[in-house]
């Protein structure tokens, strides 16, 4: 494939943006159907309680109320919320769409009120009387693992959902022969993904046809269709899931929640469209959270800095239930514990525990930010212990460019990489040597300045089906219409990533057509062939690869017809800039002319199928492994602990870039979220399981004025895994940034004897560390 063509490799502005910026796109809540009823869900205010009784009589008699449903009404009628994560011995507590006699987290759905408008529904929900009998609350992951802890799901006898081990190599020998062992306890705080558009569902049942339409703000329309059909016991092809505009997901919409099946069922009961739009408070309480691991990492190292082994014992606080991928997330951490380094022996022991909180699941990076943070943090600790420069330590242990494909002790095979290349660029941009001199000078006059580096590699382009819970391939259909317009049906479900643009760029170049003639359709299960969806930075690496293969098939088919029409054989033709050339007498046919001929079919070869379209299902042979270096420079206010980011340099290597403008946008947003994790973002529950950060007035999502100027550059190491050579960049910024900022702050505090501070690095913590 050639790059830097007319569209590919160019900074093409996103064609999605005009409608989104003008506010004229359509999200679920913008879709209005006549006679729609509105659902409000009554949720538990207790983190752990037995439900003795629910009195809905007043609510049922309130004005405008059509129906009120509780757990008893749906028992046996709606299947449980699915968990696709599979681990040996995994305990999966049944999660009904409405609580069955017991609530186990604040926000647990208890009843659904259906009314003619949402105000009446909410008024009536306030009239429902639930007699709760509070139980002991387990809000701390480590406490939940203790033998004497109260148990959340009594049927299991304890709160341990799974014990998972990963890694290979002789770890004990590595530690026995090490010159030094460096140990650090680390907390990865809980975060909330916070999409600007919260979740929402509109369900419409057509009784005569037996057809259920669901509009849902999701990243996985097809997987949702399958799951909801199973939950409701109706044929999968009688369920149509449509995702209109989706205002962000970050992993939180890679899920099937209570509301999809519940609303579908309610619509079937009442034979009317029903709508539920999540409020922000609900969003913080009952949309999945991310991260939430607390553990100890130990590294065995020689005095010259050679890494010998790594051990990570961790408790993953899963929350009260498994959502779709809850138990899978910490296993992703276990795949990436080698980082960019040759570590011969690695072991992770992970205990997943239930607590009285919302479930954790995939949040941008999903398991890999945890791995990168702990590896990059311990690298700095090792450098500190050995008195080595943190970059020199990294370079000493880097997997070298000529060693790929490289299989790590975690059992995964990195596709390609050149870690030195990105590091060298980043060091050059900041002038690393001079920067350290500046730091020495600043320290000499009492200023608190720090430099933090993170050299990361992550696993994405998910992924080979054998390693995925529900298939890792992706699909594309390319159709050249009679007028020469091109329709693409992609199985991915973009929700902000810009594939309507980048896919049009690809097809525009491959077919030699104007990219504005290419329409990319996604997110409607009745229009688009089955697909897996958008998550794990797979849209381009897998979905784009399927698109390339389908487009190649279209070209091949068109060539057959062109040869027929031009009176020559296909091998003598070549396809250049949308034209078939090389025929006798310099006769030429454009792809548009061929498309028309394929549809009129007046003159076609004998075994030629009319029409001009092709489909491809692409199965990736491996994951992709983007990498890069982030360097952060901070200065800390000695009197207050306030952190000022002076410089932020990111050199990312996501392989070939189809649209560098979109790549930069992804990196910008990714760094913002990684920075927020480093500095201020945190879901806080108190010891009663009450959510303290229940609103955006307390839950700190990053805002534009809180992020520094980014100095971006890139390295390019194409992946051999797909025909685009593209690795994916949706999560890299989030994964690479957090440790560079943490390392910078802790580096700044070295003169105070500080070795580590847990995230988020709120000014108060930093100030206390300086004054300890």
């Amino acid at each position: 494939m050639s790059f830097l063509a007319k569209y590919m490799g160019q900074r093409v502005k996103r064609t999605e943006d005009p409608r989104l910026i003008q506010g004229i796109g359509h999200y679920v809540d913008d879709i209005k159907l006549a006679d729609t009823l509105h659902v409000v869900i009554l949720r538990s205010q207790y983190a752990h309680a037995k439900i003795n009784s629910i009195d809905t009589s007043a609510a049922k008699n309130a004005p405008g109320i059509v129906a009120v449903y509780t757990g008893a009404d749906i028992a046996g009628k709606i299947g449980n919320i699915p968990c696709a994560g599979a681990l040996p011995g995994l305990k999966v507590p049944p999660m009904a769409v409405l609580a069955q006699g017991k609530v186990v987290y604040v926000g647990h759905p208890v009843a659904a009120v259906v009314a003619t408008d949402k105000y009446k529904a909410k008024d009536a929900a306030d009239l429902i009387e639930v007699d709760y009998e509070p139980l002991d609350v387990i809000s701390d992951g480590e406490a939940a693992a203790q033998a004497d802890s109260p148990v959340i799901h009594e049927e299991f006898g304890d709160n341990i959902a799974f014990v998972h081990s990963a890694g290979s190599g002789d770890v004990d020998a590595a530690f026995a022969t090490a010159d030094k062992i460096v140990t650090q306890r680390l907390n990865h705080q809980r975060l909330a993904p916070i999409s600007i558009e919260p979740r929402g569902v509109l369900a419409q049942y057509f009784k005569g046809e037996g057809q259920l339409n669901l509009w849902s703000s999701t990243q996985i329309p097809h997987l949702m269709r399958t799951q909801v059909a199973i939950q409701l016991g109706i044929a999968e092809n009688k369920v149509r899931v449509v995702t209109p505009e989706v205002g962000g997901g970050f992993g939180c919409k890679l899920n099937v929640y209570a509301e999809e099946a519940l609303l579908g069922w309610v619509s079937m009961q009442l034979n009317k469209p029903v709508k539920w739009i999540e409020g922000r408070r609900e969003n913080l309480q009952c949309t999945i959270h991310g991260r939430s691991q607390v553990g100890t990492v130990e590294v065995a190292v020689k005095n010259d800095g050679t890494l010998l082994g790594l051990r990570y014992n961790v408790i993953a606080d899963l929350g009260a239930y498994h959502q779709l991928l809850t138990p899978a997330i910490p296993t992703l951490t276990g795949l990436m514990l080698a980082g960019c380094y040759k570590i011969p022996a690695i072991q992770m022991n992970c205990t997943g525990v239930f607590t009285n909180k919302m479930a954790t699941d995939a949040y941008r990076g999903a398991g890999r930010p945890e791995a990168t943070y702990l590896v990059e943090r311990i690298m700095d600790r090792v450098a500190q212990e050995l008195g080595m420069d943190p970059i020199a330590l990294r370079q000493k242990n880097f997997i070298q460019a000529d060693e790929f494909p490289y299989t790590t002790a975690c059992g995964v095979t990195y596709d390609s990489g050149d870690y030195e290349a990105a590091l060298a660029k980043a060091m050059d941009i900041v002038d690393y040597k001079k920067l350290r001199e500046e730091q020495a000078a600043a320290r000499a006059v009492g200023r608190v300045m720090g430099i933090g580096v993170s050299t990361y590699v992550e696993i994405c382009g998910m992924g080979p089906s054998g390693a995925m819970p529900a298939g890792g391939w992706e699909s594309a259909t390319v159709r050249v219409e009679p007028t020469g317009k091109v329709t693409v049906l992609t199985g991915i479900s973009p929700h902000g990533q810009g594939e309507e643009t980048s896919f049009a760029q690809i097809v525009g170049d491959m077919l030699g057509v104007d990219m504005n003639d290419v329409l990319v359709i996604h997110g409607d299960t009745s229009i688009v062939q089955y697909g897996i969806g958008t998550f794990g930075s797979r849209g381009l690496a897998v979905g784009g690869a399927a698109l390339v293969c389908a487009t190649e098939k279209v070209v091949k088919k068109a060539k057959t017809l062109a040869a027929h029409l031009l009176g020559t054989d296909a091998d003598s033709l070549s396809f250049e800039n949308g034209k078939f050339v090389g025929a006798p007498d310099d006769k030429v046919l454009t792809i548009q002319e061929v498309a028309l001929a394929a549809h009129t079919a007046a003159s076609i070869p004998e075994d030629f199928e009319p029409g001009l379209s092709a489909q491809h299902f692409f199965e990736p042979k491996n994951f992709t492994y983007p990498s890069g270096t982030h360097i952060c420079v901070v200065e800390i206010d000695k009197d207050t602990g306030d952190i000022d980011i002076k410089r932020y340099v990111a050199v990312d290597d996501c392989g070939n870039q189809i649209n560098p403008l979109i790549v930069q946008g992804q990196v910008h947003g990714g760094i913002a979220q990684g920075l927020a994790q480093a500095l201020f973002e945190e879901v806080v529950y108190d010891e009663n399981g009450q959510l303290i950060t229940g609103e955006l007035m307390d839950y700190a999502v990053p805002k534009a004025f809180q992020v520094p100027h980014y100095e971006l550059d890139h390295a390019v190491t194409p992946t051999p895994v797909n025909p685009l050579g593209a690795k994916g960049v949706g999560e890299a910024g989030t994964i690479g940034s957090t440790p560079s900022i943490a390392n910078a702050v802790i580096d700044a505090l070295a003169p105070f004897g500080v070795q580590h501070i847990d995230l988020p690095l709120r000014p108060e913590k930093v100030w206390r560390a300086m004054n300890a």
């Binding site: 949402k118 008024d123 409020g279 009197d639 201020f680 955006l696 307390d698 999502v701 108060e764 206390r768």
Partner: protein, 287 residues
Amino acid sequence: MIPANFEYHAPTTVDEAIGLLAQHGEDCKVLAGGHSLIPAMKLRLTQIPVLVDIGKIGDLSYIKVDGGTISIGAMTTHGAIASSDEVKQHCPLLAECGGQVGDQQVRNRGTLGGSLVHADPAADWPAAILALNAEVVLKSANGERVVKASDFFVDMLTTDVQPGELLTEIRVSVPAQPKASAYLKVAQAASGFAVVGIAAQLEMDGDTCKSISIGVTGLAPKAYRASSVEAALAGATLDDASVSAAAAKADADASDAMGDIHASEDYRRHLARVYAKRAVQAAAAKA
């Protein structure tokens, strides 16, 4: 995030508004920019049967300078105050404070009057209003009264405004030559509200501080004047040592200290001291 039912009125004159307030008494609340009231209603933290929206009253949004007094209509937005040339010229402290309230969207909707009546303990304006010895004009069916800033803030979320009263205007007397001033705050990472905010205004005579007033917000359940700091500095020579020693009393006049996940009580007290010093020095540097 769905409010309870309420009755909605949108009067176009002050008299009409006052009439509605008198008619509905305790059942009724004024709606200004809605940036505090509407979130509270949506969360059903408060249920208000009758809302009187004063946004349609044209003559509540103004900035006038006349005879040594700057008068600002209650509906004037934070943003309008921050960007007003007249305010910058005659009372720069108000412009500096207004420019630090929330973010641009909040500044474009939220009003000075609304912020003062709401009396959030972490709001920015109270610090400046106290430091400036401002006056607040309240109108009701019974007439008009003028309340001093020092009497206006009663407790957390509580002011001297009585049911039936509409805050119409904020007045600050401004000398021909404006006094040197500064407003410095530590913004809470999520909301932007003040973890601590210090407004300082002073007059210098060479190195000597002739007069000084300091308002503190964020630390205590209600904003207060840092009288101990003022007493230590009025008439004193301002240098690093004297300002540090005085600023160490910045929390002395706080009725209590608030603590939450963003900043503990101790840390807030500490920030008040650090920022009192910085605000005084920043103001002095402009004198």
